[in-house]
Structure formats: C-alpha cells, structure tokens
Symmetry: C2
C-alpha cells in the first residue's frame, strides 16, 4: 500500500460545515493506525495560508484516537479556511514552484484538500501541475459543503448534519407558531444560493401531527410572486399557522435574486439589502395582512455541531480514511465520493473520481424531484434525504456546553495580521 | 393533603419556552401518582380561550408516565397560549361570573396558570375574585419565561435552557468566525427586551481557548455608540475575530430603543424596523470598516428543545409537582418559587410566595453584576448562571428528528377561526 511513505499535508477551504473536521479526523486516524505517512502537516487557512508559509504539524496535535474523536464532532475548520482561487500555472508559475519546493523540502508526497466545488479547482490545478512537471506528489480532494451541490458524489459531507439541523429547527419553529389562536405565516429562509437541497431538507420536519413546512420554494424554479400568494391563500383555507421554507437564492423569472430587490439606504448613506425572507415578509404583509414573520436560520445551519447527523459524521470519517489510503497509493487528481447502493436499507460505497469532472461544477436539484405544483418536493427526494440525517453522535459537555477541539491556534498572532 | 378533592384546570400563557410543558408534566405526574384530583382539564389558549369555552380533558391525553416524559421535553405550549389581560372584576364582572360558573359546574377546585409576569396578573385577579366572593377555588401560579425577569424566584423555568442554547450557539458561531485570516466582527442579537439575563448568559460560551463573546451589552445600561466603538477598537488591538453579544432591548441614553432608530420604507410604503443588530452592524461597518455581520438567534432560543438544560427541565417538573400539592392544600394566590440554597454544590428549595408581590413586576440584572467597564458581566453573575445550564435530557429521535408530543389539537378547526 504505502509505496511512497513520506509526509502529507492537509488543507481545508471554502465555507464551514460541521463534518469537515470529521474528514480531517478520518485522514489522521488512518495515518495514526496504518502509519501511511511519517508526519501530517496542516495548512493554516488553506492553500492561501500555505503560500504564506503558514502551517502546523498535525501529528503533534492529535496523538490519540480520543483527541481525534473530539475533532470529529468539532464544528467549522480546525485548520481555518480561505476563499482563494489559485492562478493558472502559466500565469503565475512562481506560486507553483514555491509550493512544490516546499513539498520537496518537507518530503510531502500527498496533498489532501477538503472543500467544495471551488476548492476542487485547487486540487485539479495542483495535480495537473504535478503531472506536467513529473513531481512525485499525489493530490486528493475530499468533498464538503452544506449545499450538497458537488457532482458525481451521491451527497456531500456536512449536508446531512445541516439538513438535520434545518429539519429539527423547522419542527421547533412549527411548535412555536401553533400556540396562538391567530392565523400566522412564518417564512423560514434557508441557505443555498443556487442549489435547493438544504431547503428541500426542511420537508424532513414533517411528523404525523405537523405538516410544516406547508410550502417549499427552491431556487431551481423561477419564483413568481403571484403564484406564491395564491399558494399561501390556498393553504390558508385549511390551516391556521403556515410555515414556508424559502431558499435564500430565490430568483424571479428574469433571473434577479429576490434578496436584491428590496434595499434601503442606512443613516450613513450605504445601500443595505433586506434578504429574501424579509422581502417576501413585506409582500405577504401587504397582500394578505395576517401576522407574518420571517426567520433566518443563519450561520448555525453550518455550525451547530450539537445537532449533527451521526450518519454524516461517521461517513465523513470513512471518507477521510479512504482518502488517506488513496493518497498513499499511486493515485492523484481524484476526489473521494459516496456511491449509494440502496435506500432501504441505506448503503453506500466509497469510490473516487477524476477531479476534472467535478471541479467548478454545480449539481442542482433535478426538476423531477420538485412536485408538479412547484411548492413542495417529491417522495423520491424524501427517500434520498431521509437516511442522511439519521443518528445522533455522542457529544461530551463540560460546564453545560459542548466540548470541541481547541482552535485557538487560528487566532495566534503569528498566523495573521490585524 | 387533598382536602378538596375535585377537578383542576391548567392554563399556559405568554411567550413560549422549552420548559413550560415540563411544569405541566410535573402537575399531571403528581396528579397521576397521588390522585390529588379526579380530572385535569386544560384551557386551550389560556384564559382567553377558556372564556370562549375552549378546553380539553388532559387526563385523557396523558395516562402514562411515558407520555408525560415526552411532554416534558416538548417545546412551546401543549395547551397553546394567549396574550390577554383580564379586565378588573368591577369593570367586567360577567367574565368572572362565567368563569366561576364553569369552575363550579365542572367541580374545579384549583386553577393552575403557568406564565410570566403578565400571566401572574391573571392569577392575582382570579384568586382575589375567589376570595372576595368566597368561592372554593384555589389559584396557583407557576413561573416561566426565557427572560428570567420574575421577582422573588431565584430564576424562572425555561431560562436555563434558553441560556444553554445561547451559550452553545455562541461557541459555535465563534468557531464559525475564527476560520478566516481576515479581521471580523460578529454581532449576535439575543432576546430580552428590558432584562439582560439571557444576553448575560452568552458569557457561558467562554472556554479555555475561546474568549467569545469579547463584549456584552445589556439593556440595563444606557448604550453609548461612541463607547461601543471605543470598546471594539480596544479589543481589536489583540483579537482578530470579535464576537459581541447584544440585547435586542438596548436603549440609548435618552431611553430610545436602538432597534427603532434605523428604519426603511418598503416597496409598499410601510415603515420597517431593522433591529438592534442590523442597526449596529451598519454603524460598525461605517466607522470601523472591517468585515461585519449581525446574527439574530431568533425564535429558536425559546423553542430549541433539542438543546435543553436537564437542570431546567428537572426543576420545572419538580415545580409543577409542588404546585399540584399546593393547589390541593388550602393555599391560593401564591406562585411557586425556586430558592437557591448554595452555588457549590448547587442546591435549590421550592417554596411559594404571595402573587401580589410578583404580578406585573420585572426583575432586571443588578448593576453590580455588570462589570465596571459596562461591557461584560462579573464572576458573581457567572456563578449564578452556570448551574442553570448543566446537563442534557435524553431526547428520543425518530426519522432523524426529535420526538415531541402531538400538538395537532392546537390547529383543530373547533378551536380557532380562520
């Protein structure tokens, strides 16, 4: 297996999820137990930080399985993140030469990069450069994103936990809305700029006694305000308290984001956007006139590790382990993927796929998984989603709050400029 | 004990918490095991619903301890709520006559009312009327509110769970903010219109590695924008990512709510408020100019039962049990209270107190528990708060989401008008 024993380096990039550290933990766990590499380094703030020579020795931080188990349930990125697009190697060869000099100097034979579709562009560029220049460095991508919008892989690490948080929160918001003897409409804005997967997951909040969300709007379907008001009025005929799940990325029929439609000028003269939920709240208030509120679930949908999906975290660890093995074999330019074998019982295999077919691509919700009335999802969608939110990891609490891995190194002066 | 065996009726009123059903569960549990009453009725939508003859027989819904255990962890109100101020009995004697006729007809000897300071006004008026008219009906108040602003009782049911959710979310938001190599300021808006207890609880998010929230602003102290900007600039000297906890109820030195200071006119010509967080976000962006975002934790801080404090729920059940016993003895016009005996080890007793000293009163944070620099809380505050968020109840999950009590009766047509 470990043909090229040496060191490896791992980076995390893009927006946070609660499973991106689980994949890191999986890689490190495999290294700890299988001794695939001598040392594992970690880029601080992704490839952008590494270009500035910011890195740590991960094998110093995680010497035991116990420390890795804590890392597995830690939200956001232990290594920090960046949103940085590597220039092409012919545009800026110096960056590549410096990076590969660093790899050589530190006997780094594998680069692992955990991220979304933009981050996979980094994997593609590094692996292409290594091939072109005949360097003995494998580059492996590990997916993550709460948006679930990466192609090829059945789903992405982090999505199941975000989906569980959204569904749980929706049910709790429904309980909160049923209590008054007054008709009400609650609009819940959910993340996902172009892909509606996470908004669709709100449908998992439904129980035998609660049909919330009563309406679901995904960004894959152009949004029509008149139809939206008709949909609400139809539900109002039978339902006192209505919950509507909205993607933050809803666009009108001309392709304009609703969030950009209502703005105001603050006291400093700056234009401020109101957001999709607030915009539609104003429309509902003006046209329907009952009690209306909008709730933005905000950053907690990508950070609320206390409400993670065990399935998501377990799979993310396995994906990290598979990536570690793959990187230690003679494979490069691949992303590890989930392949679904069956829904009942839920079974996945882990495989890998050519990164050039994945980088910079976006997988949206197929239109046939959106119901004909365009304000709900189909049973196929529910069958796809439901396995991903199953199970609750064991979270240790101290002083009443969850115990996560210490991330204070991310705030150390040597790693940043104020 | 049960001198006046008969029936009882229970109501819930005011804003939701995740512990208000735990107190209901405690009352019903005591009744189930001690047979203090023959039947327990439940007002649907509080005293306002009862005036409209809306009620259910609770002993039909909860026949087993198992069903009560599920009720204990169910967020919001099983019986629905109202925000209704009973008129004085001399202004509208008919309402009182009708209510007490209903009590007599149904052999109701005790009324339990679970709520905040406004709801305790109902307890006061009903018990005064019963006394004045020599009716054999005891009226007992059970506190609840996430605001923790009821006098006499050491703290209120629901507060500990909201505090645990706020502290947990703050820590997770901190993890989310540390990852970029860019200075940032995150403003987190927390509920509490006049009392800063819940905002103070954000301090419980601090760990050995994370000092967030770095600044805390309570509504008990008049808010000065210049001092706020100076405070932030001071923290910026040493800290890359700053988290600020803000009460939604911050007021300037003239007593004006900050939330009312910035408004905009929407496309329909209606004035819309921006909220405290958004208002200060605009101020920070204009004056400091680094990356700024504001996060409103919103209704989940009072509804997120999946993140409850076991201490809070256990105590709320005990409080309900104590109330049940009190109501079955010859006591009326009292609210059950927590009395703190010690912080370490944490010990409380349950007592009761004259409702006339509690109704319509508000307990704010004592100024000596706010630090001298007015942007933090003292160690006494932390010693007071910490015991209240300890422990995690066992939550059963099905299909990946928590299993709560069926509240579909709240949406039944017979109980509401569309």
């Amino acid at each position: 297996m470990s043909l090229n024993k040496g060191n490896c380096i791992i980076g995390q990039s893009g927006g946070p999820t609660v499973a991106i550290n689980a994949s890191l933990s999986g890689i490190l766990s495999e290294i700890l137990h299988s001794k695939l590499y001598n040392s594992a380094f970690g880029m601080i703030n992704g490839i952008e930080g590494l270009i500035q020579s910011k890195y740590i020795t991960l094998t110093d931080f995680f010497k035991t399985q116990e420390s890795l188990d804590k890392l597995t349930i830690t939200p956001s990125m232990f290594l920090g993140s960046c949103r940085y697009k590597l220039p092409n190697s012919n545009e800026n060869p110096q960056i590549y030469e410096d990076l590969f000099d660093f790899f050589k100097l530190n006997n780094i034979v594998t680069v692992f990069y955990i991220g979304g579709n933009d981050s996979m562009d980094t994997v593609l560029k590094l692996s292409d450069y290594a091939n072109k220049t005949n360097q003995n460095v494998n580059v492996i991508g590990i997916p993550k994103t709460i948006d679930n919008d990466l192609p090829i892989t059945d789903h992405t690490p982090g999505f199941g936990s975000a989906a569980k948080y959204v569904a749980t929160s929706l049910l709790e918001i429904a309980h909160d809305s049923y209590i008054y003897n007054v008709p009400s409409i609650t609009l819940v804005e959910i993340m996902g700029r172009n892909a509606g997967w996470l908004t669709a997951a709100s449908a998992l909040a439904r129980t035998s006694y609660s049909k919330a969300p009563h309406l679901i709007y995904l960004p894959e379907v152009p949004f029509n305000v008149n139809k939206f008001l008709e949909d609400i009025n139809e539900v109002r005929k039978t339902t006192k308290n209505i919950i509507v799940a909205l993607s933050e990325g809803l666009k009108d029929e001309d392709g304009n984001y609703l969030a950009a439609k209502e703005s105001y000028v603050d006291s400093f003269g700056h234009k401020q956007l109101c957001g999709t939920g607030k915009y539609l709240e104003n429309i509902v208030a003006s046209n329907i006139g009952c009690k209306v509120r909008s709730v933005e679930i905000n950053v907690l949908q990508r950070a609320a590790a206390h409400c993670s999906s065990k399935t998501d975290l377990d799979e993310s660890v396995l994906l990290g382990k598979a990536a570690a093995k793959l990187g230690a074999s003679n494979v490069t330019g691949q992303m590890v993927c989930y392949e679904r074998k069956s829904n009942t019982p839920y079974q996945i295999d882990i495989s890998s796929y050519d990164i050039s077919k994945i980088a910079n691509q976006e997988k949206c919700v197929p239109l046939e998984w959106i119901s004909k009335n365009q304000c709900d999802v189909t049973s196929q969608m529910l069958d796809y989603l439901r396995p991903l939110i199953q199970g609750e990891p064991t979270i240790t609490y101290a002083n009443g709050i969850p115990v996560y891995s210490d991330v204070s190194h991310l705030c150390q002066r040597k790693y940043y400029q104020l």
